[in-house]
Symmetry: C2
Subunit: 366 residues, 2 copies
C-alpha cells in the first residue's frame, strides 16, 4: 500500500507505482514475472495501468483499466483472480489507486436526478437510510457514532491510515452536520492512496512463500449489480445481501466461519446495515453488535480493523485492494497491534456508484 | 451498432442502449439471459455499464467498465470472450460507446510530454512515422491519400458509417494540412457512436442460430502493450507485430488465411504500416498493396470494408466492437454492397493510447 492521505506532490502514477513495488517486494516477485496488470481507478484518465507498467519498464504485458466507482479496485482484483483461476495467466498484479481533488464528486454527479433534487449523494442516501432505520428499529445517534469511534480507534494502529486519532462519541456527534443524522466524522474522508496485490497460482505461491508464512487463498470473489430501478420501491440493502450470499455459496463458507471483515463503511449507517446483510445478526439488530463491542478488534467478529473507510480513508479506486491487503496481513498474523488473533477467514466488501450500483464481496482463507 | 456521427440529442447511455438492443435482437437473445456486461469507453464517467443495464431493467448481473483509450472496446470484448471461454458465464454482452466533445483529446492530453513539445498526439506521431517511412521506402503522398480514398469508398456502402461520400486523391491531398504530410481527410473524424456484441458458448450459439446462418467463432483474442520506453530508441510498429503474432499462434492461423481485415486506420499512414505488421507483405512494401487495389473490396485481402476509422468514424470506445460487428456481418455474408465474397476468416485490430500503449488483435472464424 501507499499510505492514504493528502499527497499534493505525488501523481496518481507515483502512488500506484509505489503500491506495486511494495506488493512485488512483499511477494518476492520480479516485475518481469508479471503476466498482466489490472488497474482500478475512477478518475485518473487514460491507460493508467500501462503508465504504471512504464514506470517499471515495458515488458509488453496486457494492461486492463477498470472502473466501477467505489468498487473499481475490487473489480480489478476480481478480474486478476479470474485470469489466474481460468489459467490465462500464472501471476498477475492488481492495483487500485486514486488521487482525489476536492469537490471532485460534486462535479462528477452534476446533473444526476439526485443532485437536481438537492440530495448530495452519497451522504443523502445513507442519511435517508439512517432516518428510516432509526424509525423502524430504534437505532440511537450514540450507537451510530460508536461505529466511527471504533473504526478511528482501529485506525490508530494502522500506519497506512489517513487518520490515526481516537474520537469520543461526543466529538463525533458534535462535528459539523453533513446530512442529518450523519455528522462529518460519520462520513469517510476524501484522500489519495493506492494498494496492490499479486495474484498467482497455488503452485507459484508455494514456491514464493517463505517458510512459516501462511498461504492466503481466494475462497470466492463476486461482483453483482442492483435489482431495483430508481424511483421504484426496493430494498436498498438487497445488493449486499445477494453479493454476500453468492460469495458464501461459492466459497462453501457461512457467516459463522468469518474471523475478520473489511466492509464498505463509507458512512456509519452503512456498517450497521451491512452487519445484517452479511448475516452476522438479524435485520434490525446491527446496533447490538456495536453496543456489545463484538466488532472491535478483540471482539467476536472484528470489522474494519484497518480503520475502514471512516478512518483509513477512501481513495476511491484504492479501497477494494487496500481491504485485501489488510486481510492478507490479518490472515498471515502480520497486522501488529490491530491483529485479530488466529484469523483464518476474512471477507472484503465494496459498494460502487452513488445509487449503490455495483457490489463486490471477496472471501480470503488462510 | 448505433450509426457513427454527431448526435447532440442523445446521451452516451442512449447510444450504448441502442447498440445493445440491436445486438440482442440480432442474436435472438433476451436481456434476462445475459450473465454479465463488459462496457468499454474512455470518457463517459462512472458505472456506464450499470447505467445501460438500468435501461433494460436491473437483473443484478455484474457489470465491468473498462478503459484502454482507443482499444477500450476491444478490451471489453476480450474480457467478455474470456469470461465465456473460462466458463464463468454462458452468455454475456460487450458494448463499446463514446460521445465525443470537440477538443476533448486536447484536454485529456494536456501536460503530457508530447503536448508540451507541441506535438499534438496522435496526428504528430503518425506524421513523424509517415515522414520517416517516405524517406526510408519512397512512399508517395498519392499512395498515402489512396488509403483514404479506398476507405471512404467502402464507407459509402455502410449505413452505420459517419461519412458516406467518395473522395478523390486530389480532394484528400488538398484538404487542410493537420500535421505534415497528413491532411484532414487522412485523419479519422471525431464523433459519437456505439456497438455491441453478444458472446456465448458454442452450445448456446447453436441453439440461437437460425438455420443457414453460419456460426461465428472467436479463433483468438489478444491484448498487449508496448515494449519501448518513451524517449528511448524503439520500433513504433513492434506493438502490432507482437499482437498479431500472438493472435496468429493462438488461433492456428497465418496471414495467408485471412479473408477480411478491420484495422486501426486512425491515419492513412497507420493502415500502410499495419499491412506489413500483419505480414500481408514485407516491410516497406505496404504501398504496393494500395497501388494494386489488393485491399479494396474485391481485391486479394480487403481491409476496412466498413470504411474504417477514416470514413466510418472513431468514437473511441465504440471502435473495437464496431470492427467485430463488421466482421460478423462479413463472415455471415450479410454485408450487402461491401460484402467480401466467401469471407471465412476475419481479423480486427485496435491501438490504444497516444503513444500506442495498448494493442488488441481478435480473429473471428466462420
Amino acid at each position: 500500500m501507499h499510505k492514504f492521505g493528502r499527497f499534493p506532490d505525488k501523481t496518481a502514477i507515483d502512488l500506484g507505482f509505489h503500491a506495486c513495488q511494495a506488493a512485488l517486494k512483499d511477494g518476492g516477485v520480479e516485475w518481469r514475472d508479471i503476466g498482466a496488470v489490472f488497474c482500478g481507478h475512477a478518475f485518473q484518465g487514460s491507460v493508467v495501468g500501462e503508465r504504471i507498467a512504464a514506470s517499471f519498464g515495458y515488458t509488453g504485458i496486457p494492461a486492463v483499466n477498470v472502473e466501477n466507482a467505489c468498487a473499481s479496485g475490487s473489480t480489478a482484483s476480481l478480474l486478476a483472480y479470474q485470469s489466474v483461476a481460468a489459467g490465462f495467466k500464472d501471476i498477475v498484479l492488481a492495483v487500485g489507486l486514486e488521487k482525489m481533488e476536492r469537490g471532485m464528486l460534486d462535479v462528477q454527479q452534476k446533473g444526476t436526478p439526485e443532485m437536481t433534487m438537492g440530495l448530495l449523494p452519497p451522504p443523502a442516501k445513507y442519511a435517508l437510510e439512517a432516518q428510516r432505520y432509526m424509525e423502524d428499529y430504534g437505532l440511537t445517534l450514540e450507537q451510530l457514532a460508536k461505529v466511527s469511534v471504533k473504526n478511528h480507534k482501529h485506525g490508530c494502529y494502522n500506519p497506512y491510515s489517513q487518520y490515526q486519532q481516537e474520537l469520543t462519541i461526543e466529538e463525533v456527534l458534535k462535528s459539523r452536520m453533513v446530512c442529518d443524522p450523519l455528522t462529518l466524522y460519520q462520513c469517510c474522508p476524501s484522500g489519495d492512496g493506492a494498494a496492490a496485490v499479486v495474484v498467482c497460482t497455488e503452485e507459484i505461491a508455494r514456491r514464493l512463500t517463505i517458510a512459516n508464512r501462511p498461504l492466503v487463498r481466494v475462497a470466492s470473489a463476486t461482483l453483482t449489480s442492483q435489482t431495483f430501478v430508481r424511483g421504484e420501491p426496493g430494498d436498498p440493502w438487497d445488493l449486499t445481501v445477494r453479493a454476500a450470499k453468492e460469495a458464501y455459496e461459492k466459497g462453501g463458507i457461512g457467516p459463522e466461519d468469518l474471523d475478520v471483515i473489511e466492509l464498505h463503511d463509507c458512512f456509519t449507517m452503512a456498517e450497521i446495515g451491512h452487519y445484517e446483510d452479511f448475516g452476522l445478526c438479524a435485520r434490525g439488530e446491527g446496533m447490538r453488535l456495536i453496543d456489545e463491542g463484538a466488532t472491535e478488534v478483540g471482539g467476536r467478529i472484528p470489522v474494519n480493523p484497518s480503520g475502514g473507510l471512516l478512518a483509513k480513508g477512501h481513495p476511491i479506486g484504492a479501497t477494494g485492494i487496500a481491504q485485501l491487503a489488510e486481510l492478507v496481513w490479518q490472515l498471515r498474523g502480520e497486522a501488529g497491534q490491530r491483529q485479530v488473533e488466529g484469523a483464518k477467514v476474512g471477507m472484503a466488501h465494496t459498494m460502487g456508484g452513488a445509487s449503490g450500483m455495483a457490489c463486490s464481496v471477496t472471501i480470503l482463507k488462510r
